[in-house]
Amino acid sequence: MADILIHCMLIILMPPLLFGVINRTKAAFAGRSGAPLLQPYYDLFRLLRKGSVFSRTATWVFRAGPVVALAATLAAALLIPLGNHRPPLSFNGDMILFVYLLALGRFFTATAALDTGSSFEGMGAAREVTFSCLAEPVICIALLVLSRLSGQLSLYGILAHSSITLWMTSGAALILLVAGLFLVLLSENCRIPFDDPTTHLELTMIHEVMVLDHSGPAFGMILYGAALKLFILGALFLNVLLPLRAASPLLDWLVFLMSMILLAVTVGIVESCMARYRLVRVPQILLAACVLSAFAMLLVVR
């Protein structure tokens, strides 16, 4: 019961902190002091207090976009184990629901963007969908590989199975998997080198351009949803990469928190050292991620 409470608290409270950590890391690399760690929270509260503007030509799809996307991401967050703890919801085959929930959120974000009729948002939706075609298989294959390794069908089962011994026996496959998942983590969360979350240049954006017309609380939901998505995919990634087991459950939570923050720092470092890829290169890199995970599959089923 306590674990479920902590799980819910974490998925509600922690995600924006990751953005704060990333921004601070980037600022440090650029020689600036940067925004306060809690700035994303202030931003969210500011947005929630604001009014909304809706285009007269937009339909209910536009308004439903952020709500459905956030609801789907929240539901997915209930399925993913954090650290070594059993998630609030867990059943056989929930990994398929997990993938579909993420896809549902994306579908509604893209449709809401198309609903505005703006050429920018149309472009953004086209890019988003094109790239996710290549990013989704990576996650699916990764889950298949893990499921094969553990012989289980629930997210908790396959992720909790990952351990030091597993790394000793199937290290090669896991390394390939981790590399592919990290690329997808960056691309799905619109981080450099795939997308630049801070740019103001609407012609170069992927994710941001889809939400240009949203304002106020709806935009707050989108920002929070984006942070939550980073949190979920980060947790998935960490479960595979760092199967650390502490002696007590409380210590496990601490280890999880620390590794999440470390992951945010890593993302910040990557963003500070790299420029964005040219847009035509993005599918090539994602394809590489696909190939990596496919090889991992090959190693496991042989």
């Binding site: 980037k26 690399f29 650029a30 020689g31 600036r32 050429s119 920018f120 149309g122 472009m123 890019r127 450099i192 080198p193 630049d196 801070t198 740019t199 103001h200 240049l201 609407e202 012609l203 170069t204 963003e271 500070s272 050292c273 790299m274 420029a275 964005r276 890829y277 040219r278 847009l279 035509v280 290169r281």
Partner: protein
């Protein structure tokens, strides 16, 4: 050869009596412009002065051997276009047609330039005579037809803090087939208020013709006044002007390199260059109290002296700047992800650059040796000029590398000048302009060739004052660089040219 004889040749900064400028029949004039541009001459500016029953046309061409040439003609009723034979005349012809309200015959792209009211308001002409320019941005855009073509319109209100301009892309998926740029949203009527000048406010107006080129435009105007009054600025002021001009170049090139890094999401160079640009602007402030150099250049010299202790402090500061700047830019060259992004993006071929008559860094990045400081030297550049840098790639990388090379050359040049300032006074009284003269000045601003032309009337007032910002030559270069490129690369290409909207709109 014969057409060169039509020209009256002179040097940068000279003034001529109007009656010494050859008046040529219209067809002969147009034919000569076409032939001369094929013979290595280049249109520096081409404008009209409307009067009661026609337009007198003036053309200034820049040639080799430090020579400038000018001649004039007259058109009544309509003006045959030469753009098909001489693409660099394209915007100039549209401008003449718009300012003088004379129709162009056979122009392939006859549209408003900046949606301005005509220079000469005709009270008898009812509706058309009133001060009603065409509404900005209203007009037909070039369209590519087809079910799979989509059109993207950007601006005039942009997401960043930049000036207003409208960009219309014809795209097939992510690929741009054509880009059309519509400007004019910042038209302030600068050339109209200059008629009848010089006024008390003229110097300040010229310094803000393009805010980031304060020294460039201010210097061109000061030299025009000196040319018309036939005085020479004292050597010490020439030296200080060159220092200010190069500091302006440095600050802007540094800012551009940082902004280029920012556009590809490379944060370290963006942040460092932003800070160093501030240091360079502060160096200008040290010189004259204004970060943009406002109030420094005046007709007859400069308004602020630079005593030895200040020069020493500046040199020391520039040394520190060189160290930081080198480090920040090295990060850029050392990042493979940045190089991959810059290379082969926004390429303009050498031939296109020559045809369009590009100037400044945009031209030099296409392998064209074109620099006013070398070709038509003025002031201190007559005796010593920084080396001209040239890159051959024509892409964003070439324009970035060129900026860095020019920055290094300018840094060295500024330190040298500060270390060897000649003695003497800094400001002479600049008398009234002589009557019925034309003065032409070219200055190499940081964006390229700034051309000012003043023609005085029988009272010594400006009958016409023509300002040609380098952006006027270069905007079409940007449009060409986008052909066949990814639409997502537009901001990067745009930044690599970094052209002025208000310098174009005037």
């Amino acid at each position: 050869m014969s057409c060169e004889l039509l020209l009256k040749t002179f040097r940068n900064g000279d003034s001529l009596a109007i009656q010494d400028v050859p008046l040529v029949a219209l067809m002969e004039f147009l034919q000569a412009v076409v032939e001369l541009t094929g013979l290595g001459w280049r249109i520096a500016t081409y404008f009209g002065i409307p009067d009661k029953d026609g337009v007198s046309l003036w053309c200034v061409l820049a040639g080799s051997n430090q020579l400038l040439g000018t001649f004039r003609s007259r058109a009544e009723g309509s003006l045959p276009s030469i753009t098909n034979a001489c693409p660099e005349a394209h915007l100039f012809e549209r401008e003449v047609a718009e300012q003088c309200r004379i129709p162009l015959e056979g122009h392939p792209w006859f549209k408003p330039v900046r949606y301005q009211p005509p220079l000469r308001q005709d009270p008898d002409n009812g509706e058309r005579g009133r001060n009603n320019g065409i509404l900005p941005g209203v007009g037909d855009f070039y369209r590519v037809e087809g079910a799979e073509i989509h059109e993207v319109a950007v601006g005039p209100v942009h997401a960043g803090i930049i000036e207003p301009g409208h960009f219309r892309f014809q795209c097939h998926g992510e690929t741009v087939y054509h880009l059309e740029i519509a400007l004019g949203y910042q038209h302030r009527g600068l050339e109209r208020v200059l008629v009848g000048g010089p006024h008390a406010a003229t110097m300040a107006q010229m310094e803000t013709a393009a805010g980031d080129t304060t020294i460039g435009h201010g210097l061109a105007y000061a030299m025009i006044r000196e040319g018309l009054a036939e005085i020479k600025a004292p050597p010490r002021s020439d030296c200080l002007r060159a220092v200010a001009l190069e500091l302006e170049r440095l600050a802007n090139h540094c800012g551009d390199l940082g902004a280029l890094a920012g556009d590809v999401g490379f944060l370290p160079t963006m942040s460092f260059c932003g800070r160093i640009r501030g240091d360079l602007l502060n160096a200008s402030a040290e010189l004259c109290g204004s970060r943009f150099g406002r109030g420094l250049v005046r007709p007859g010299g400069v308004y602020f002296d630079c005593p030895p202790n200040k020069a020493g402090a500046l040199m020391k500061r520039l040394d520190e700047i060189r160290r930081d700047y080198t480090g920040a830019v090295k990060l850029l060259w050392d990042a493979p992800s940045v190089m991959a992004r810059f290379e082969n993006t926004g390429r303009v071929s050498n031939v296109d650059a020559i045809d369009l008559g590009l100037v400044g860094p945009a031209a030099r990045a296409c392998g064209i040796m074109r620099d006013v400081r070398r070709d038509h030297p003025f002031g201190v550049y007559r005796t010593v000029a920084p080396p001209v840098s040239v890159e051959s790639g024509g892409d964003v990388l070439a324009r970035a590398k060129l900026r860095w090379q020019e920055s290094l050359a300018s840094l060295e040049f500024v330190v040298d000048r500060l270390g060897s300032l000649p003695d003497g006074e800094i400001l002479l009284a600049c008398g009234d302009a002589r009557r019925e003269r034309i003065a032409v000045v070219l200055v190499e601003g940081w964006r390229g060739e700034i051309c000012h032309v003043a023609i005085t009337d029988t009272a010594g007032r400006f009958l016409r004052y023509k300002v040609t910002d380098p952006s006027f030559h270069n905007w079409n270069g940007l449009a060409m660089s986008l052909r066949g490129q990814q639409i997502s690369d537009f901001p990067l290409c745009n930044k690599s040219f970094n052209l002025s909207y208000c310098g174009f709109d005037l």
